[in-house]
Amino acid sequence: MTMSDKNELSQRFEIKGGDFSRAGKTSTIIKEILQELGIDSSIIVRTSIASYEAEMNVVMYAQRGVLTLSITPEKLYLKLEDEGPGIENIDLAMQEGFSTATDEMREMGFGAGMGLPNIKKNADKFEISSTPGKGTTLDIIICLDKTGKR
């Protein structure tokens, strides 16, 4: 973890597309970091789920991605930028049950079309942008302040 002058901890993780055997490792590490920081367990679960779903999307669909975890006293921030096919129709991808998964992905227990909606459900703020043929960016914010949205 590196600490900036803004009282912000940040760590960068590289995720390789198609590497199913390692899929989920980054999120397991992120969960460990949050546990070491003594963050509230329900916030850890929400952050880990969002991170895991985002990580699986890179493994399943993209060539590579970078997941950056930043922590300030007020919030957790996950930014995921991937290089991949991008998403043609974001509204459709946000619908529960919509999926373009292959059989291999389904054999891993994923690809049910729940990923992006589930990230949104667990986030206090969620933004997605995508350029077809280039890649997708996710911005996920989870508030640490108990008086926040949740």
Binding site: S27, G109, F110, A112
Partner: protein
């Protein structure tokens, strides 16, 4: 219901976690789809699954599941067992199929994770 009672009820083999059999389990859920487990699972859940790759243990760890029961005689791979050991997540394997394993537990009073109540 303790994990030991669950082990006996399902005639299950303990793959990892003989030291954790006194764990109290309050509810359970069954799915082979980790997407669904991530969407509907709750911390403390006993996860019944037929998915035996490492994703089952990684998913269980992410949602703070208490233990995993593999159905229809499945057993997790080495990576999964290693992670379970590291995180202290007991792993059991039963020969019963999903429906029967869930039914046995439910009939003995172990509720599901779902908040759905039957329509009147």
């Amino acid at each position: 219901m303790t994990l030991k009672e669950i082990k006996e009820l399902l005639e299950a083999e303990v793959i990892y976690g003989n030291d954790h059999l006194d764990l109290e389990i309050k509810f359970a859920g069954g799915s082979d789809l980790m997407s669904d487990v991530l969407a509907f699972g709750k911390p403390g859940i006993l996860l019944l699954t037929g998915l035996s790759n490492a994703q089952s243990v990684r998913t269980a760890n992410i949602i703070d599941a208490k233990a995993i029961v593999y159905v229809r005689g499945k057993k997790p791979d080495k990576i999964g067992i290693e992670l379970a050991r590291e995180k202290g997540i007991p792993l059991l394997s039963t020969r019963y199929m999903m429906y029967t394993a869930c039914g046995l537990l439910f009939s003995q009073g172990l509720p599901g994770v779902s908040k759905l109540t039957p329509k009147k």
